[in-house]
Symmetry: none
Subunit: 421 residues, 2 copies
């Protein structure tokens, strides 16, 4: 097996440390590196401070060190000078880059004689570094080598950095290190928490080792992602087969829990199922307050199958818009099986759709009773074969009750759609 | 002035390094630390690997080391064992924590005898560490001290970590280190982008220096937060007065742009205004697909003033549920002033509320025309004094168009509520 190639990412910028900007660059870079077989093993975020930067460069390990940030024209951007000090290089004006910088400002409408020296100084680059062109801005990237290690400095602006990585850095790293290929597959599950799921698939998980496959659990509210990964070594086809074999076993083991793979979301899966069937959907939401509708409409093109919905927060709306009899509400309460089923059939009839989902529950923090504590939620799905409902209970904050109820409702609809071919 | 107190944040998790999860915890923690006068100077992200974790703990600097992640019940979560090794402690079952874990599962409907050993093992904690209760989950936090440095280990799940930080860790750090007091005030604006806003308040911003006040712009879609901060030194009252004086000037300068302070959100401000007036609200949403309704119902107690809403994705719903005449739709299209105004008055009448907001637009990525490009959105607010509408245009992704339209609709309602005393 080829040697593992590792990378360290150094993100420079005070704004990242005080929560002003979320460091989305590092995750993206880690993902891109993984796709070419390089493992990001550390991300270090530090401030725009010369001593901190020098210390980080000195302590950096791995084959590749990717540095972002601190290349702007303002005073607090000091990465370039610090790199010069670290590599023992001096800055020289790069005429080609200077012409490009001038050209950018001229195209923005600045007269050549009005271009500030501080902007032209962006063409001052360390003598001995390889310049990486910036297609989208004035700060060039820089490629250094020292004692077998590659250091790449890039701007922190995500869309400049991403273009530079894609066009130049990733291909150059592949050429330089010929890293082993890693095969990934991420299987998405819903309906069981992380520990119950782990118990359910324990034997399967134990069997992964002989196939040299690693498994990671990636939980988020209502969803657990299972990521399988393995090195391809010299046999990429074999690695894909090993992963595919284990994935197939998993599909056999927990068919009802798997709703998709990779970046898919439940609402996209449902959208595809509805489109395939030329069917439509409506919603009646109480405790989720429009969140299911929001999820459905995040999908581009959802107007092809989503007709609309009613958010029936007040009982009057449940009665008038959804046709719930007032004695049914009085007898059972709004959070009850008869009411949620009537909500589902009521909206399905009113909006003349093939399918509908209804939710009624207690999102909290107030409104709970000993009988129906916060987190009690009734969910109903109505369709061509009638209406079905179930009671769920999700402990947690108002936000979590809403989120998990919504996912449970979407998952119940997904299963019904699959049962109905 | 007191000595500066510094912190290092160590985020543990493979999912953070390969871009599967964005590390939002670290930025939030840095922001919260800054609010109590502690400066986060490094964030280190590493994988769930014992050697990496030990190395990070050994190399950590600063007065405080905050560690998140790797406390889950599954096999790949190894932080706890590694902490034991680093501090030379052994794990012992904490009976109190075990009882809490059991209680959580019982409340979720699990029989006590069915609770897995792997879940109970969450109560195995390092002997000698101070246990930090987890109000929202089964993994406890741990507080260690070694050679004058404080180490705190917390779960990586953001809502568990945040509750732990707020309730226990931040107050304890303040007690332990008595960092210099920083006076903050965050003023929330909407309606102008960051650079336009900066130009508008340029002279005021220049005047902050003489008062030793720092200003930070914290932009997010549709909202720019302005954070004023100053060291209190030995004069906390004077510092509050300096900040208050400048804040008052800002309120005079841009009254129409300010909607609140601190952690307030537009939907909370609106909730308060409606409650004060004993008035009610309904919604008719097209392009925002239920997102405004979702925002309104994230506020606990919103059922006191929010009656409900209609998501009219299909034209048929606009006609039948909201009473839009079909010739009006044909003549003007769904994204038009007459239709959005009729949506607002229609839902206000149908749901018998004092106020209503309606939105109709093109969220994209498809559906745009030269006349009405993606991002074109009509917004109407109907109330006791009639209906008003306006046309806005937000460039960007589908997600951004939805988010910014929703905020613009809420802000329009807020202004109308204020005009109507």
């Amino acid at each position: 097996m080829a040697r593992e190639i590792t990378a360290e990412i150094i993100s420079i910028g005070d704004e990242l440390l005080i929560g002003q900007t979320i460091n989305t660059n590092a995750g993206w870079m880690g993902e891109q590196l993984a796709l070419v077989g390089i493992r990001a093993k550390r991300v270090l975020t530090i401030s725009d401070d010369k001593r901190e930067i020098l210390q980080a460069l000195t302590a950096a390990t791995g084959d590749v060190v990717l540095i972002t940030g601190g290349l702007g024209p303002t005073k607090d951007d000091i990465t370039k000078h610090t790199l010069c000090e670290f590599f023992g290089m001096k800055l020289v004006r790069n005429k080609e880059v200077e012409a490009r910088v001038v050209d950018i400002f001229v195209r923005m409408g600045r007269a050549p004689e009005d271009i500030l020296e501080v902007n032209k100084a962006q063409a001052d680059l360390p003598e001995g570094a390889t310049v990486i062109p910036n297609e989208r801005g004035t700060a060039s990237g820089m490629w250094f080598e020292k004692e077998g290690r590659v250091y790449v400095s890039m701007p922190g602006v995500p869309y400049e950095m991403k273009a530079m990585m894609t066009a130049t850095v990733l291909p150059a790293l592949k050429d330089r290190f010929a890293p082993p290929t890693i095969v990934h597959r991420t299987i998405l599950t819903t309906g069981l928490g992380e520990s119950m799921l782990a118990k359910r698939i324990e034997a399967w998980e134990d069997s992964l080792e002989t196939e040299r496959i690693k498994l990671a659990y990636l939980p988020s509210p209502g969803i657990v992602k299972l990521r399988l990964s393995t090195y391809a070594d010299s046999d990429a086809v074999g690695a894909h087969e090993r992963v595919a074999r284990k994935a197939t076993e998993l599909y056999t083991l927990i068919p009802e829990l798997i709703f998709g793979e990779g970046e898919e979301r439940l609402q996209n899966v449902i959208g595809r199922l509805l489109k395939d069937r030329h069917q439509t959907l409506s919603l009646a939401e109480s405790c989720t307050g429009g969140f299911v509708s929001h999820l459905i409409t995040t999908v581009p093109g959802s107007s092809a199958y989503y007709t609309g919905g009613v958010v029936s927060y007040a009982n009057a709306v449940k009665m008038e818009e959804l046709g719930i009899p007032s004695d049914m509400l009085e007898l059972n309460g709004a959070v009850s099986q008869p009411v949620v089923e009537k909500m589902a059939t009521g909206v399905r009839t009113a909006l003349r759709t093939d399918w509908s989902v209804a939710l009624s529950g207690i999102a909290g923090p107030d409104g709970g009773t000993p009988d129906k504590p916060v987190g009690t939620v009734w969910i109903a799905v109505a369709g061509p074969n009638g209406v079905q409902s179930k009671l769920v209970n999700f402990p947690g904050t108002r936000e979590l009750v809403i989120e998990r109820s919504a996912l449970a409702g979407l998952n119940m609809l997904r299963k019904r759609l699959l049962e109905n071919g």
